[in-house]
Structures are given as C-alpha cells and as structure tokens.
Amino acid sequence: MSVRHGILALLERGARYGYQLRSEFEHTTGGTWPLNIGQVYTTLSRLERDGLVRALPENDGGQRPYEITPDGRAELALWFASPIEQRDRPRDELAIKLALALTTPGVDVRAVVQAQRTATVRTLQELTRLKAAADGESGDLAWRLVLESMLFQAEAEVRWLDHCEASLARFASASPRGGARTAQPRHEQTDALARTTTPGEPRTRSARSRTTGRDTHDISSTVEPKEAR
C-alpha cells in the first residue's frame, strides 16, 4: 500500500488539511505506520500535480484543505478493486537469508531459524496483548483488522520456520555426516544466488533478535530486555 492511496481514502470522507490527514492516517493504522508531516505534503503536491486532489482556499486558521477530484475517486476505486500483488510485499529477505545460511560454511542454520522464531513469536506476543486490549474496548474495528493482519502474518512466518526446521532435521538425518548444520556451498546455482543477493543493505525486519543460538537451561539468565515497538 502507498501513503498516496491512504490519503485519497481519507479525503473521500471529506476535505482535510495536512495535519488532519497525518493524524487520521496514524489512527487508522493504529500507529503502526508513523508518517511525518513532510511526507504528507509531498504526497499531496504529487496528487495535485496528477489531478487526483485539488487544493481549496486557506481557512481562517491559515490551513489549506484538500479535496478529492473525480479522477482521484476513480484511482481510489481502482485501488480498492485490485488485489495486492504478492511480489510487492517485502517478505523475501528472510527466505534469502536462510538460503544463504544454508550455503555459507560455518553457519548454524538451526540457530538462525531459532533466532528468527524467537523474534517473531515475541512480535506475536506483543500483537496478542494489543489485540486483547482492543477486544476489551468498544470496538475500533479498523484497528483490530490491522492488528489481526499482522498477527496472521507473524503466525505464518513461524509456521514456515517450523517447516524449515523439520526439513533441516530430515536432511540432517538423511545425510551421513549430518551436514545440515554447516552446509558446504556445493551448487553453482546457490553460489550465484549468494553473489546476486549479498550486495546492498538488506531490508530490516521489525523484530530483530540476537543471532546466537546458545544452549542455556536457566531461563532467567536468557532473558534480555528488548526494545518495544
């Protein structure tokens, strides 16, 4: 989704000025997508350039409201009518990271999987707590839908990680040397993958965890305070 369509959707409710748009946008997404006011004005001026919104005269408070145009309405309708493409979602970094972990000598793939699982479960815990609080209130349905979407995505990621681990375990037991823990780069193909994907800064996921997978039996000592979102 783009801020552009978010702003069009808000203007469909009626004319609004920049600060109103920012505050309503953040409220609708439950604060999970903070906007700065500069982004709002940049987006508004692009929308105006494209004829999708129109600036109205300044009000007494010196604020300039914008309204949606018929073209803007058509664009918004098209957006609502079109499914989001799976490939537009930034979900691939983790898969690439695991593929690299598997083909890089000396990397404990199970530790990489576990570190991600711990981080994602933690995200899931935080979302669940927020959802429990939202259920108690007399429903802000929009906020609850956003939360549940994030919950389902996090859950899917954990399931996929479980699946990866099971596959690794099968591979390790099938291979005489239990090679899954420190796989060798055997395939030209995977080397090529490594070359094409390592350059550049990978996209950072919201929930990062330490990447060590130490064996620790005393729970109280494994707990590290982590930053809340």
Binding site: G31, V121, R122, Q125, E155, A166, D218, T222
Partner: protein
C-alpha cells in the same frame, strides 16, 4: 517482591525413559520458575519433551533427577497420598482430551475434584457454579456433556481445572480441534485466571496460542534453546499509538 515466590519451580530436572542403549532422554537438566500472575508457554516440535515437562510439573510423572516444587513443596518428598492431595487441590489440568464423565452433569464434572477431596456437597456445588460462571456457562450447569457443543464441553473442562483455589493451571494443547474463535476464548479464560494471580503453563505447537503467554520457552531435544519475553509493561508498547 517476596509474594512472587514461584508457584512452580523445576530445578535441574532430567527425565530418562528406559536404560542403557535404549535410554531416551526426554528432558535434560531443565530449570524453570513460574511466578504467580505469570503465564509461560512451552513450544517445541513433537518429541521435544513438552508433554513430559507438563506431566512432571503436575506430579503425574517423577523426574529421574532434579526437583519439582509446587508452591515451595518438593513433590518428590511427598507420600503418594500427599502427592494426590497436591494434584487435587493445587493443580488444575486442561488436556486436549476433555475427560468429562458422560454420566455426570456439567456442575458435577466441575465439582468432581472437590468432591473427591471430601469437600461437602453444598460447598462443592457452589464452587462448581462459580467456576461455570467464570467460563460463561452458568446456564448449562445441569446439562450432560453430550447435550453441549465441543466448545461448551471444553469450557466445562476448563471450569473443572479452575474450580476451587487452584494456583497452578497446566494446559496441554487445550484448544484441541476447536475453531480459532472458540480456541481463542479458551486461552482468554486461562489468561484471565493467571491475571487474577494463578501461574499458568501451556504446552502447544501453535505460535498463535503461545503468544498469549508472558514468556515463551522453546524446547528442543529435551533442552531449552531459547526464550521470548517477558514482555515489558503494556504502557510502554505503542506509546505513539493514539493520535496527537
């Protein structure tokens, strides 16, 4: 806080099934403490030792080495009679198999642990109705299990785990085959009792269920490999969540 002495404590607990060549190490030196008001989830693949851990915590199985303490009492030091009393009075179990007795009404099923413990009929009935109220089923007290839906039966099973003043709630995949909404309501009930001061331990392979816990412990091959949590206080989450 001194009032936060653990309700459940495992100290270096090991459980080995069998001997010699065929010995299976179900748990390898597990230490874990669960405080009052704390909900801990145990996650792990099949065979990681989750259910063994729960059975040890509930006094249904004994460790090969190490100690299990419930409210400061070492279970291994108790007589069979004493251990049975701890199981009846202190610990509430919710299992995937509901184990409701078909010939007893909901209220009678819920009151059974108290009745077995020698509590009078009138007090047992009152406690059972209170527990059914807590799970939202006061109107079904006189129904038999086969007159209720699966979700209602599971709530009765939870009421039985909560009846009386149980400080330790143990749950093994308690949502079973329930749909996701009903399953969630089961976890909310356990969460509510924990928030009221009990200690809860949940064994599950569903991350969505484990997420109701304050801490999630990851078990693999009988060892704890990682822990998520505890979470910070709710106030510190999403402080910018409200519009200015």
């Amino acid at each position: 806080m001194s009032t936060n002495a653990p309700v459940l404590e495992l100290r270096g607990v090991t459980r080995v099934h069998g001997k010699g060549e065929v010995a299976v190490h179900a748990l390898r030196g597990i230490s874990l403490a669960v405080a009052p008001g704390e909900f801990v989830a145990i996650m792990g693949p099949s065979g990681s030792g989750k259910s063994t851990l729960l059975n040890l915590a509930g006094g249904l199985d004994a460790p090969t080495s190490g100690d299990v303490l419930v409210e400061g009492v070492v279970l291994g030091g108790l007589s069979r009679h004493g251990l049975a009393a701890v199981r009846r009075r202190r610990v509430g179990y919710v299992f995937q198999d509901l184990n409701l007795l078909p010939s007893l009404t909901a209220a009678e099923n819920v009151g059974l642990p108290l009745e077995l413990d020698g509590v009078g009929l009138r007090r047992t009935r009152a406690a059972a109705l209170a527990a059914l109220e807590e799970v939202g089923l006061p109107h079904l007290a006189n129904r038999f299990p086969d007159e209720m839906s699966g979700g209602q039966q599971q709530r009765v099973a939870i009421a039985r785990a909560l009846v009386g003043d149980r400080r330790l709630i143990l749950a093994d995949e308690p949502t079973g085959a329930l749909d996701s909404q009903t399953g969630e309501s089961v976890l909310k009930l356990i969460r509510a009792r924990v928030d009221a001061g009990a200690a809860g331990v949940l064994v599950t392979h569903e991350a969505r269920h484990a997420a109701w816990a304050d801490r999630v412990v990851f078990l693999r091959d009988g060892s704890i490999v990682d822990t998520s949590g505890p979470l910070p206080q709710p106030e510190s989450l999403l402080v910018s969540g409200e519009p200015a």
